[in-house]
Structures are given as C-alpha cells and as structure tokens.
Subunit: 362 residues, 3 copies
Amino acid sequence: MTGRQTSSSGPADPRFFNRSGPFEAQVLADAAEASLLPPREGALSATGYTGIAPLQVAGPQEVSFLDNRRYAPLLEETKAGLVIVAPAFADKVPPHCAALVSSKPYLAWSRVARLFHPKKPVKPGIHPSACIDATAKVDATCEIGPFVVVEAGAEIGAGCIIGSHAVVGQGVQIGQDCRIGNHVTVSHAVLGERVIILPGARIGQDGFGFAVGPNGFESVPQLGRVVLEHDVEIGANTTIDRGSVNDTVIGAGSRLDNLVQIGHNARLGRCCIVVSQAGISGSTVLEDFVTVAAQAGLIGHIRIGAKARIGAQCGVMSDVESGADVIGSPAMPFREFFRNVAVLRKLAKKASGSAEGGSGKQ
Amino acid sequence: MTGRQTSSSGPADPRFFNRSGPFEAQVLADAAEASLLPPREGALSATGYTGIAPLQVAGPQEVSFLDNRRYAPLLEETKAGLVIVAPAFADKVPPHCAALVSSKPYLAWSRVARLFHPKKPVKPGIHPSACIDATAKVDATCEIGPFVVVEAGAEIGAGCIIGSHAVVGQGVQIGQDCRIGNHVTVSHAVLGERVIILPGARIGQDGFGFAVGPNGFESVPQLGRVVLEHDVEIGANTTIDRGSVNDTVIGAGSRLDNLVQIGHNARLGRCCIVVSQAGISGSTVLEDFVTVAAQAGLIGHIRIGAKARIGAQCGVMSDVESGADVIGSPAMPFREFFRNVAVLRKLAKKASGSAEGGSGKQ
Amino acid sequence: MTGRQTSSSGPADPRFFNRSGPFEAQVLADAAEASLLPPREGALSATGYTGIAPLQVAGPQEVSFLDNRRYAPLLEETKAGLVIVAPAFADKVPPHCAALVSSKPYLAWSRVARLFHPKKPVKPGIHPSACIDATAKVDATCEIGPFVVVEAGAEIGAGCIIGSHAVVGQGVQIGQDCRIGNHVTVSHAVLGERVIILPGARIGQDGFGFAVGPNGFESVPQLGRVVLEHDVEIGANTTIDRGSVNDTVIGAGSRLDNLVQIGHNARLGRCCIVVSQAGISGSTVLEDFVTVAAQAGLIGHIRIGAKARIGAQCGVMSDVESGADVIGSPAMPFREFFRNVAVLRKLAKKASGSAEGGSGKQ
C-alpha cells in the first residue's frame, strides 16, 4: 500500500470533512467554556489556529488535547500551539504552548473540534430514484438519498437526512432532525427528535417469540413497537426487535454501539450506554444511566437499577441494584470477581506446586 | 418526546398492524383449542371481544394472558374480560373475568392474537424498480419489493414476499411462501418452503477459509452451498457462510435469532434454536432439538447431541452428549458449573476473611 | 424439503460455480507444487480428473484431500482417484488411489480446487440503475452492480467489482482489483489493492465517542479515517469505525471474519486474524500476525505483541506480550487457565463430596 494511504497526515482529511477557521484562541476558549492560559514563552498565534491534531503531530498553529492519562508523556513533547487539558495537567503544558484548561477537557475538545469541522448541512430534496409512497408525509426540508423507500403512512419530520437505501416502513414516525444511515431498516417504530441511526441497523423487526405447536414451533405475533426517544443513537448493524405485547423502548439520550442486540419488550431508561456486541434479552428493564460494557449479556425479565455498571463480557442472570458495579459470568460485584480470580490463581499455583513437587497426594 | 409517543396505548398500533374481530368467546376458545370458563360473576361479553392487551391495561372487552409465573400478581388485579391461563392458575382468575384454560397457554395466546391481527396478505406483483434477470423464474403470485435484485437462473416459488433491496443471487432456489426481509443477501443457497429471513441477514457468502501461502494468506475456494430447509427462520443481521466442500445446512423448523454466526459446513438438525449473538464454528454438527443460548460459542468440528442445551455465554470445546445441559467456558454440566461458582466464592471469602483477620499466613 | 435439495451431490453445484477441466494428474501436481505418487495398484486416469469431492463421496475421477487428522479414517475407505495429503499420511492412501503429497496440503488443495473452479471474471460495465456522481472516478474496467451509489469525489481503481446496493461514500479511495460485496457501506476510507469486503459490512461510520455535557451526552467529532491496506478481507456484517483523531488501520493481508467489531483508532498490523464476533476496542494496537479467536474481546488502549494468540471468548484487559497464548476472562496464559479449571473442579468435587458425606463442617 502506498505511503500516501497509510501515512496519517493528521485528522480531518479534506476529502471527507468540512473545515472552518482559523480561529483565535479566545474564540476557541469561549466555545470550549475553558480558561485560556497564554504560553509561558512567546505569545498566542496572532493569525489564529488552523485546525486540530494529535499531540504527536500537531504544529504551532494547531490545537491538541490530552484525553487519557496514559498519554501524558506525549504532552511534554508536543509541538502544538494550544492544548486542551484538565487542571491537573496544566503545569505539564510545555512553555511554548498555550492551554485551554477545563474540568471537562473531553467535552471542551469535542466543541473545539466541531468548530473547526462543522457537520455536513442538510441539503433538502428527494433524490429522483427514491420511492416514496403517495400517502407518506416527508417534510420539505428533508434530504432523502438515492434508493430510499418510504412506505405508506410514514411521517418524517423537518430537517431529517435519510441515507441511501434506507427503508422507512409503513406508518413509521420520525421526529425532526434525525439522521437515518445508509441501509437502515426501520419498521413498526416511533422515533423522537435528533435520533441518529448508523448504517445497517435493524429496528422493529419481529422479536424471537414462538410457542411449541403440534408440528414444530409456531411464531407468536409480535404486536408491539419500537420507541426511540429523543437524542437516541444506535450503532451500525445493531438490532432492536419490536415488542410482542408492550413496546421496546430506548430512553432519551441513550447510546447503543455497533452490533448490539435488544430483545422484544426491553425497556432502557434515559442516558443508558450499551457498548458493542452486548445483548439485552426480552422484557428486561434498565433504569436511567445504566452502562452495559462490550459483549455483556443480560438474561430476560430482570431489572437493572439506575447508574448500575455491567462490566465487559458479564453474564447477568438476576436483578442488579442501583449503582452496583458487576462483572463476571455469572455477574458478581467487581471486588468479589477480582478477589475470586486472585484466590483461584493462588490455590492453583499451590496445588500445581505440590503436584510438581511430587507429593503424590493427588 | 411527546406523551403520544411514549405512552403505550396497548399493543397492535393500527398504524402497523391489521385488526380483525370482534370475536365471541367460544370462537376464541376454538382457535386456541382451550376450555372456556365463564366468569364467576357476571356474564361473557354479548358483543364479543375486541382485541388483546397486557394484564395491566386490558379492559372488559379485551383478552389477556399470563405467560410467566413472575407476573402472576398482575392476574389478580386485571380488568381484562377474558384471560388465557394454564390450569394451575385457573383459580387465580378474578371473578369478573372469563378464562381460556389451556395446557399450552402461550400457544393458545399466539393463536388468539393472530386471529385479532392477521398477517399482511401477499400483494402479487413486481415493483417497477426491481431488477429481475431475464433468466430468473419468479412465480406470478410473488410480491417483489422496490430495488430488489434477482440474478440469473434464480427461482422463486409461489406466494413469496421479497422485501425491498433484497438480493437473490445467481441460481438461488427459494421454495414457496418464503419471506425474505429488506436488505437480505442470499447467494449460493437453496431454500425450502415457508422460510423466513429477517432484514440484513447474509446467507451464502464465502466462509472464513484460507491457507498460509508464500506471500501471506490464500483464500481456499468455498464450493459448498447453504441449505435452509422448510420452516427455518433466520434473524436480523445473522450471517451464515456457505460450505467449503460440503453444504452448510439449517434443519427444518430451526430458528436462529439476530446476529448469530454460522460457520461453513456447519449442520444443524431439525428444530434447533440458536439465540442471539451465539456462534457456531465451521463443520460443527447439531443434532435435532438442540438449544444454543445467547452469546454461546461452539468450536469447530464437534458434535452436539440431540436435545442438548448450551447455556448463555457457554464456550463449547468438545462434543456434548444428547440431552446434556452445559454452561460455562469451558462448558461443563450446569450443576457442576454452579457448584464451582459456589465453592470458589466460599474459598475466596474464607481466604479474604483470614487475610483481613491478619493471620499473616498468606 | 425435497431430496433434491438436501442431498449433497458433492461440492460446486453448477448453478453457483464455474467449472473447468478435466486435468491430468501432473497438471494438478504442478498447480499444487506437490509430489505425485501414482497408485500402487492400477494407473493414473488416462483422461484426467474431472473435479473435487469430499473423501466420502469422491469417485475414481475425482480429487479429494485430508485436511484434518480427525477425518483420517475416511481416507482409508475413500474411492477417490487422487488425494492430497501431508507426508505423514502418504502411506495411509489406499492402493487404488494416486496421491499428491505436500507439506502444505491445505494450500495444495486450495490451488487444485481453484483450478477446477476458477473465479467469476470481472464483467466491465456500470449497471444502468447505479447512481454515480459526476465527480467520481470509476475505472472503465470495473463492474458496478445495480443500485450502487458512488458519491462525489470517490475513486475506484481498475478491475474492481462493486456489488449491488453498495454505497461508496464521498471521497473514498478504492485500489485496483477490490471486491466490495452487496449492501456494503464504505465511507471516510482509503482501501488498498485486492481488498475484499463481504456483504453488509460497515466501514467508516462514526466511532462511539461522546462527552458528558450539561444536557446529556454530546458526540465528539470523529475526524479520522479507516485505512484497509492491501489484501485485507472483511467479513459479512462486520463493523469498523473510523478514527476519532488518528486513523483506524487494518494492516496488509489481515483477515476479519463476520460480525467483528473494530473500534475507532484501533490499529491492526500485517496478517492479523480476527475470528467472528470478536471485538477490538478503540485505540488498541495489534502488532503483526496476531490471532484473535471467536467472541474474544479486547479493551481499549492496549497493545498486543506480534504473533500473540488470543483464545476464544477471551477478555483481554491489559497488554499481551509477543508470542503469548492467552485465554479466559480476564486473560491469562493458556496453561494457567486450564490448570485453574482443573484445580477448581477438584476443589469443588472435594467440597461437594464432604458435604454429601455429611461432615457438617461447612
């Protein structure tokens, strides 16, 4: 592969991203709601800052940031002209370098980066290849991509972007300012505002429900819906089955990563986080602010209390209390899990030591 | 989000589901093959029952059911006019309420729900945007959606629905009355009758086979097929690779949930169940009626005996006997797994207790 | 299902695969770079060999192979005319049967199979339904399927096949001889040569990055790219998020199976293998020749040394040394993991034995 392709020339390749600026330091500080510390040696850039870059590659006209303690050594060597840091790292900023100090440096970074690279604006219009049913209502301010299908009775609010090949099923309601990715399927669903669905997610298909009949399994009608409340984000190729009798609900502000599975009738509260490849079985309830880490699995018909955190690969077979941290399969408190691991290692080492020592007492 | 959207007005939102009825109690009893018990106080509805609803929200003209013992308290408080229950719960039905008593209440419920909400009928016709090869044979009774591709030599039997954007590859055979979801890809495959594939599933692509050559990996030709026998159901975004030399086979009546992976040359028997995010590696054989729970993983080239049950997140590295229940990673009998968990907890508690007690003997 | 469908008439159903031949034994030996041993009884086929088949079903004019020690008993009973084997099995070949002996029998098999069943050639041309932006550059030798979308500024090199419904996003670069499967989404990405992407994979969407703002989560702009170097293969429905600041990179020759998740900024070296349903979190680095088995999960911001092997369902929470073999959750050396399993089983059996024996000392 050619050098052009593998060598990273910094973020925001202009083939893919819009670019704005330059911006003066104070403008960036205001956007970030951060305190501006001028460089201890030299001065702020008179012509402003032109873009963002990682600590390793940023130059004197660029803004960088420290988001993870483990990369702190890079801070001292950076050639960036301006860095965003937490207060604890303010005195580690090199002398030539200005700082934006924020108690929420990641949020500050996010806003500065967005200033330099604003989102693609909506381009209202329906691509001529799209297939929109005559009874569907698509707001005139929407951008509808090629080969989109919008079925009978569906309604799409103002300012939405519907990516190419997406299918908006019969009767589906989509609130304003949503982003429906390429190849997404949405059926039997009601979406709030500002909902984002990444490519290939499947929303609203039949849940996994069947009864044993005289000639094999018989599908049980799945008569509920999927409700995605305001500001929900759904990852690529994630699947959310519609409810069987009740609805499957993803609460406002919740974020699901890629390849997540949500079973029928599950209900997630507000601002839950579900990381990639995790699965939540049918009728399970997550209260607000629950975090489910990657590849964790939750059995059906249980309740996870508010702010509980489910660790990666955790297997949850029963209710979890509010605020609890669990991990392991079956799930147990973090502390207990790591104690068990340590104790077993010690016991195994001892057993193996005596075995190797030839005690013969096995 | 507005109240209209989040408040569940009961199942079967008319924007998404057909509706039939009302039905008299005896009609429902016949459909359910259940015994009708009139209410102990009052009478059956003279005008029949209008729909279904969960126990909590059902009214006097609606039918509800108790499907899970843990929801039994809701039965005693329900305002439903008619409930479907197992014999063990018949005397828990409130006095104002009629009952349909069935030894298979879930099956009975399924049939009653289907009566009120019949499936969307097939609307024969090929959407003008579909791209059908001149050599493909599509029965005139099929419903072919927008942007469907049917390649050369493919054959689609009577009464099928092919959802928008689905791709039916060269030479693929699809039996009658199948439902192929939106965005499904099917290639190198032979499907029986009444096969259902949910949106985004990938059937028949190259298996993961390669040999180490002098300049890196070399793909091994994957020359088998995928065979989905009668009445198979495949979940959303599930992937089934075609065989390398033999076929990958999913036996009649088997049901796979969402995001399942089936490796090349795997063979599932009749009426197997594979729950979401489980994976079955290449050349592994499942005999009939095997259940694989969510997120379980089976190594390649092993055999799982009939009626065996593989627990959630189980890691199966060797053959499993017929009828066995296994769980854990590596897999072991259920009883052994939970005994191990209990013993380790006890040992760890003891070790930690003595450590905290300052025995110093660590 | 009818017998025609389930009965496997050997591999390479002509409805799905091209066929070439017959080939004389020496031609096959040359392709396989293997030594030809004539049969001990009888002679090589004068008219050559017509195809390939598994040991159980191959006939006297067909070629078979032994790829897995566990199938060795089938070798002695095969009716194949020619078999490909490793040197260790050469004297197990039945007397009527010629052999191609190779120290890399799987590679030899691969090449013989490819000789009989050559790949579908590229048919240059753009399907009239495809939607190609006027500013995109598509080489005239490419085959572009129905309903493909190629956005502004994208470039597709010579000899590529872009499957139906694939979306090649704005500015994406695709090197020559790539194969982009049906329904694939590629955005914000740069692909080398001979890259293969199976159906439904999602390349280049937003990573899972957000900061906690005053009104809930705020998305952090994801300003990196995805780089797929030469000869990379990506499985069906796999998801690879683009970088946030740096690029997400899949090194040359690496192969990812189906339903794999790669988080933003992850970097895989050359010839890594990631098996189905495994997940690699953001900013984690894999050096060259790392193998990650099925359903394994790697936390973010760690480094896996060259040639390390991560076992199935392994949960990796910290760096792994080059060449190490780890398994378990949390990850530990293979040997330690299985020792722990054995010791715990023994302890549990003892504890349970004494409990059942009624010692009363619990």
